[in-house]
């Protein structure tokens, strides 16, 4: 990994109880690292009145209780955090890896054909491109801590469905734009569902509720339809073997 640099940032007021910090360097990887390291730092700094931070790609939303802490104080915390991170120059944990079995197409992936047609490639090619890539979890999104990832190397961005589904099942493996995701819980959705994993992604009896964190690595692996039931009831868990880096 290259030397960590903290990207330059801008801070925007976002109502009376939140700030949006945006990293504005030309390097999207630096921006992403900066906002996630800042979110971790804020989470652990123990400042009173800070509810937490929601980091995504190039920004982090910092939420606070304005009765306990002022927006000015939170701004100062953010700047302090950025300074400390710049000096520390470390703080990135070794990513954990997850193997995600997926049944593609059919009832499990109702939009596989659609995606193939739109891309002008075969469904097999869609599956190949989707399973070939190593995915980094960029952030936890809605709904329910979905792992937001940069999508596979399709020729074109994938358009969203014209009529979003009222309910997409838990475990749905979907793509949209240049992004890929797994749905941890059943929810409405407008992304193209190309497959489904039989593993339980979300477990509300565990903390954290989802097993992965931003920075962790996911790989998709095709399984046969008849193997689906064999995985049902199992939780998605990190691979135990640490690979030498």
């Amino acid at each position: 990994m290259s030397v960590l640099t903290v990207a330059p940032t801008e801070i925007y007021e976002s109502g009376d109880s939140a700030l949006r910090v945006v990293a504005i360097s030309q390097a999207s990887e630096d921006n992403w690292l900066t906002v996630h390291r800042l979110a971790d730092w804020l989470e652990n700094c123990g400042a009173e009145g800070l509810h937490g931070a929601v980091p995504t790609y190039d920004s982090v939303l910092v939420e606070f209780d304005p009765i306990l802490v002022s927006a000015r104080q939170v701004r100062a915390f953010v700047k302090l955090g950025l300074l400390e991170l710049d000096h520390a120059g470390e703080g990135v944990q070794t990513p954990r890896e997850f193997d995600v079995p997926v049944v593609y197409g059919g009832d499990f992936g109702p939009d596989l054909e659609l995606v193939a047609q739109y891309q002008g490639i075969s469904t097999g090619e869609v599956i190949r491109l989707h399973t070939e890539k190593t995915y980094t979890v960029r952030c936890l999104g809605a709904p329910a801590g979905s792992p937001m990832m940069d999508g596979p190397a399709f020729p074109k961005p994938v358009p969203r469905l014209k009529d979003p589904r009222l309910s997409v099942p838990a475990g749905a493996v979907a793509v949209a734009g240049r992004q890929a995701v797994i749905a941890p819980a059943s929810a409405p959705g407008g992304w193209c569902v190309i497959g489904q994993t039989p593993l339980s992604v979300l477990n509300i009896r565990k903390e954290p509720l989802v097993p992965y964190k931003p920075g962790d690595i996911l790989r998709f692996r095709q399984i046969a339809t008849e193997d689906f039931n064999g995985f049902v009831g199992m939780d998605l868990e990190p691979l135990e073997l640490e690979r030498p880096r």
Binding site: E13, S17, R20, P66, I67, L140, A185, L209, V210
Partner: protein, 337 residues
């Protein structure tokens, strides 16, 4: 001593609290009581901690009976509260005898009521909060026959003469009605709307029936985004005002998905969110521009009233022996005259 409360008519009610503030970090919305002022007030009036689990009742009539004496407080939208058939005051502690029916009917001029029970009620928590999360399937929607366990019983507290209300704590009630004025601050993406952003302050909007705890949809003249191109998903604050379609304005409330890709035109203030929590379909909404500093000052003023209330409740409950030994005998004679 704990007791049981039997729900006989649930209407549309849930057990909740002030929200899952740790949720957004994990991709879960904060959720919790939509009208935070009313929820806090109910708990304070019942002698509880602000964040204790309580019942949020939305729009529909509600009825319950306890098998032990309890002390309750009901706040939020105007309604008819009766205990054992006697009309009782909202926004005051109310003593309920074992077996008496507590009935909440005719919620009007607002949408949500809060019912707190002294000693609070037992509730499971997720990331430290009892607030329901419909997406992950957590929380307690009350049903006909649901039993709630209260942690404490309170002997009857009743004025001996004509059953007049015992408490007159005189908390300022939020004004409610069908014309709502909602304070907002400029959103982080206000520049993307150019001059059309001003429409938000010159137009009147109508609350759509498709509104809920996730967000309110408002019909009216819509500001338009002047920039185009895809926006990267970002964390969105509760209260974010967005224009996702050509038909409606969307104001996100406490059940909002934590990330989204729409530019944020404005953000409703903390006190403004309480106003919107009480908006009924068909109500008219006007937005007023304020600054975060003014919004926080207003928020602090309203919280200060609740602190004054807390002190009054503490004093009165102490004297009456609610949750402790009665202290009124200790008072010097002069204080009672």
């Amino acid at each position: 001593m704990s007791g049981r409360i039997l729900i006989q008519q649930p209407g549309n009610s849930v057990v909740t609290d002030l929200g899952r503030t740790r949720g957004p970090r994990f991709g879960l919305p904060v959720n919790g009581a939509l009208d935070q002022y009313s929820a806090r007030a109910a708990n304070i009036l019942a002698g509880n901690q602000d964040n204790d689990p309580l019942v949020e009742i939305t729009a529909l009539d509600f009825r319950m009976t306890a098998n032990t004496d309890v002390l309750i407080a009901v706040t939020g939208a105007p309604l008819t509260l009766t205990v054992g058939g006697r009309p009782c005051s909202q926004w005051e502690p109310v003593s309920v005898r074992a077996g008496e029916s507590v009935s909440i009917r005719g919620i009007h001029r607002g949408l949500r009521a809060y019912l707190a029970i002294h000693g609070s009620i037992e509730a499971e928590t997720l990331l430290g909060s009892a607030a329901p999360d419909t997406v992950v399937g957590f929380g307690r929607q009350l049903r006909d026959g649901t039993t709630l366990v209260t942690r404490r019983s309170v002997g009857p507290v009743r004025q001996p003469y004509f059953d007049l209300p015992l408490f007159r704590l005189g908390l300022e009630r939020p004004s409610m009605g069908s014309d709502l004025l909602v304070d907002v601050t400029d959103g982080p993406d206000v520049a993307e709307f150019g001059e059309s952003g001003e429409l938000l302050f010159t137009s009147e909007y109508t609350v759509s029936g498709r509104s809920n705890h996730i967000g309110l949809r408002l019909g009216g003249e819509l500001p338009e985004r002047t920039s185009s191109g895809e926006v990267l998903s970002r964390g969105v604050p509760v209260g974010a005002v967005e224009v996702p379609s050509r038909e409606e304005l969307l104001v996100l409330h406490r059940g909002r998905g934590v990330t989204a890709g729409y530019p944020v035109l404005a953000v409703v203030t903390s006190t403004g969110l309480d106003v919107l929590a009480q908006a009924r379909p068909g109500d008219k909404v006007r937005f007023r521009k304020t600054t975060a500093a003014e919004a926080t000052a207003a928020h602090r003023r309203s919280r200060a009233q609740l602190e004054t209330l807390r002190e009054s409740v503490h004093t009165v409950f102490g004297l009456l022996g609610i949750g402790c030994r009665p202290q009124w005998q200790d008072l010097p004679v002069a204080a009672c005259s």
